[in-house]
Subunit: 364 residues, 4 copies
């Protein structure tokens, strides 16, 4: 039982606070022989990096990953994993601790301030300490390795809803996702969200969002019945992301509303003689085990509780106070949750892949 | 990594197939000194027991629990736990294996038949084998012990939606829940669901449902940040129930649609000088840690895929076939998921309670 | 963290007390497709069974194993595993609880009576309850399955020392082991031990022993560096056996006394062009990873503390008392530890085998 | 299953290679409110630090620990833990990678070179990579925190045997241990070992050793029956140290040689009315649970296989070669194992302490 570790064979332990000197992770169980470059890893980090548009926090961090162990450098300059734990470190540079001094003893509504104090009796209040979404940088680094574990696997995500504005799924175009600041697959929705979020941002308010993650080229047979269902582990990974309050697989809550005929995916024999599914309401998972279809998961992110307006609260001394978040502001934290969701799904799939194939594939 | 175990300090391992001689569980980590009677345990079993109304499967099982270890009997006749593992066994009696022979090599759409075969290359097809919801009887037995771990904790659940028929939350009355065959808290909805499900049942079809679980008297401070968030562990437990495709805490997916001002629960000082929350959008959990408010979780159950109508599928030999489930039929498996959901939430809370308080409270 | 479970991918959970209705285990992670018969399993049980000579306890138990789940019966009558958890149950029949009533509140020196009471505040005193060596019957059953996991693996053990009487290793003959009541590989030592143990037995005393376990046909590459060293996991498994106070691999404590030149096993290229070791001081493990040589482990069993002579002790009420064990008596519990040691080593090796090869070998 | 993590509630994950930029650990589960200084931590590091006498490796490392997370600095300058993971980093400075280029493809007898290659197909050969004893620096840092978890606990160790030269236990004087380069508690043995090791060192050879660890002020009741026995977890922790081939608790292998009367510790009522033991053959553990007496464990370290003399071996290309270790040389690695053994025992005890008391003691 490790509160800061997830996964079993592809096992990620993260550490670090928002305003400490650094944060990072140890990826234990990474198979030997995976090749990657720091630039390749950085590609994923940059997707999550703060300060990239006016719709996300203006904190400036390079989020450069240092790989401290578990690899050897090849003549090509690439790194190759050796099977030993990969330690990765990301320095904190733009910390501005003074911004937070006012809330050292005040509980921001909707934040973990109160519950950390109840649980631990001590709390690193600077920037939210350990409960800061900054912790997720380490997850994205780990996800960069996880993506390499399952051959040819592609894991990508998109924002499908901000507040009550949902995309038109008929307009879904993956090539749009990286072409706008929202990871939005529906080009027509982009200006709508821009206007909407500008209003939210100027009001010092915030709003929630829904993200959809799709994993392709996941072999059939991953997962396990009963208490290590693939959907269970994917959902647990997504629920561990800050501010996530709901998760679903395939039709999800929508499955409750339809009949068994509508929901159960029928099968036929495909042109290659192999079974094919005629639909994917199951989101690629039956009985906790992957079917070979794309894995589809969605998760809901609540509006950040750091808003620039007064809220009623209490302090650690038992006084009633009004709290208004200062410091930097994220009108929709759901946006930056897109690469984090990808990383967490990739990690779950890498983990289950290794459970079936073993940690070192070299023995015959 | 144990695929048939859940929990860390309150640790449940289940075993058994639908049509084997028995099924059961081992509860490891049950603290010493818990007192209970077999009758008390049976109360929870009876809530889940099949055959109690025309809306659930007609399989007849007594579901009597035998407690084989981990307890001593007191003079009062009650059992008291000793801290060693509690093994509980439930015999299968009404098995009718012949009902299933036709589908030994056919994959029922929406079932785990195909994925089990892909994964294991062998499958106990009788009644779904290990993937049968019958496995959940063992969870309810374990939940009966879990309820005793956290002092005064009350965990109860209700069905809030069948198909697209949702209850009116204004009519919520816990006393109604055990007074109708649906665990419905809204008396006015009961006749609506009766008519609706009769239609479904007679059509040989099925429909999904949504269940809400509420846990009261959960002390503040349970849970852990990051990868053992209380909401994460509750959701993982619920996602492990057969046919569950979505889970949410507090406002859940609804939180995505509202603003930070609307969603974050404000605080004041209560009459006793202690902090109180003015609302519970968080579902009793902030930053992965309980606030002391009721824990509120919901989960969506898909319509059972065992329907009495022909569906297109394939068999293990690569033939296209039509499959129609014979055997007994559950028009809405969501109904019997109510006591299972309670059990899984109780287990998650017992587990986290022990992580904070330790497994044996006797040392000073 | 499960106190009654061991192993990670081949995962064994045991339950049961000496004088409860039954004891057993759940083996989770057993790969699908293993074939075995109840008779084959019983062969190992019978090696451990009590009452087989005057040198072990006279309790009479059939120790018949019932396999309750995780298997299907083939037409040949053999059982084949399906990949789901295998639950095995052994009934207790010859319990004689009254023998133990006198020591309900008295702490037998050298037993776990005092520490269980300190820890749990309650104790099943009948026959030692959970701390009875009877629990090990479940391990032997699990070991019977573990033996099937690694192809061609042979795990066998022998008693090499009783008290200070050690065998002559030059006389080692495996074929002798099952030909005497001591599992002794040195035929010349058998009469010596008979006389010695008769004296011990008649004096109501007891004596310790050392057991050596050898596993052959273990492929090179099993194990893991640092905290899951193969020697570490083997030793942990052996130390978990009741009354074991020391464990060693290869030269063990003897390695402390010799030079690096003497201890390090040199290598050459064998006739088949593959590396061969010229000695096996390492006991088949280097850096925590198997070399392909036989795995050699030894463990020391203390003399049982159940002796028929008065010993000074205290009771739960704070009185000084004299305690003399009544009930049945094992002059050398080390004898019956031989099949238990085999089982625990087999389980460790099966577990590590699966970590490398994956839990389901069917996917390509 | 994490190959580079140990412990359950006090959970240590280490990372790093001998010749990478750094190594370190993440301690997860450290309770909040522990106070320590970097100097206090460094005290333990310095005991293990290389280059402190002519009897250990001449590598020069400062082994300064940087604490990167999980703490806040108090006005006094002390650090206080917050309950979040403590990441500690130690830079490698004196690496001399060129020393090792010759053995990149040659297998040093007695080393993990061959087995790493078999398992992973790739190996960081520089200084032994991950299998270097340099990894243990991270353990000593973790042990520095573990010592603070159990109130008033003292864990200390001494070297009791080098080669076949054993100390006279009658001369045991803890105050001598830090007064000589061997951590020897017997002042009379020091000159004997000096002469002996000088001979070994000059011959380019090496020799093994035995270390005894004693933990005092360990409360009764720690540990767990069956598969998390306190002795089992201590032994597993000690067996995970490089080059350890045997472990024992209390009388250990010696218990095999004596009678039940001699071995079982009798009890009486002490002057304060509480039970006292009249001897400690059990090494402070009965039935896997601490008795309140000092915990006594011993472990055997094999002679290092890095010797300056030619040994027969093979290379990765299938050639027979002679291998002679160059680089720096440790004639008796057992010496530096003394502080490592202390750290590993402290970690095991901290872990079990938290299992009983819970991870956060603040809730009432």
């Amino acid at each position: 039982m490790s509160h800061n570790t997830f996964g079993h064979l592809f096992r990620v332990t993260t550490w670090g606070e928002s305003h400490g000197p650094a944060l990072g992770c140890v990826v234990d169980g990474c198979p030997p022989g995976l090749r990657f470059s720091e630039d390749g890893l950085q590609h994923w980090m940059d997707k999550r990096k703060p300060g990239q548009s006016r719709f996300v926090t203006q904190r400036r961090e390079d989020d450069k990953v240092k790989v401290l162990s578990g690899v050897m450098r090849e003549e090509s300059g690439e790194l190759v994993t050796t099977g030993t734990p990969v330690s990765m470190l990301i320095e904190n540079t733009d910390q501005r601790s003074k911004d937070y001094s006012e809330i050292a003893r005040r509980y921001r509504p909707g934040h973990a301030d109160y519950t950390y104090d109840v649980k631990y009796g001590i709390r690193d209040y600077r920037g939210g300490g350990r409960s800061s979404a900054r912790e997720t940088a380490a997850r994205v680094a780990a996800g960069g390795l996880a993506r390499l574990v399952v051959p040819n696997m592609i894991v990508r995500a998109a924002l499908v809803q901000i507040g009550d504005r949902k995309i038109d799924r008929g307009n879904w175009d993956w090539s749009q996702v990286d072409a706008n600041p929202f990871f939005c697959p529906d080009a027509k929705m982009v200006p709508v969200w821009e206007d909407y979020l500008d209003t939210i941002r100027k009001a010092g308010s915030s709003v929630g969002a829904v993200i959809e993650v799709v994993a392709e080229n996941v072999p059939a047979g991953l997962g396990a019945p009963i208490y290590a269902k693939l959907d269970q582990d994917i959902c647990a990974n997504l629920m561990s992301i800050n501010a996530v309050k709901g998760v679903e697989i395939g039709n999800g809550f929508g499955a409750a509303e339809i009949s068994g005929e509508e929901n159960a995916d029928e099968m036929r024999i495909g042109p290659d003689g192999k079974p094919v599914f005629l639909s994917n309401n199951a989101g690629g998972i039956l009985g906790g085990i992957s079917t070979g279809q794309p894995i589809v998961a969605r998760f809901a992110v609540k509006p950040t509780s750091s808003i620039l307006n007064d809220r009623r609260s209490v302090d650690a001394d038992g006084n009633e106070v009004d709290v208004r978040t200062k410091g930097r502001h994220d009108p929709c934290v759901g946006i930056r949750a897109v690469p984090i969701g990808e990383a967490m799904v990739a990690c779950a799939l890498a983990d289950h892949y290794l459970r079936d194939r073993g940690q070192t594939g070299r023995l015959d």
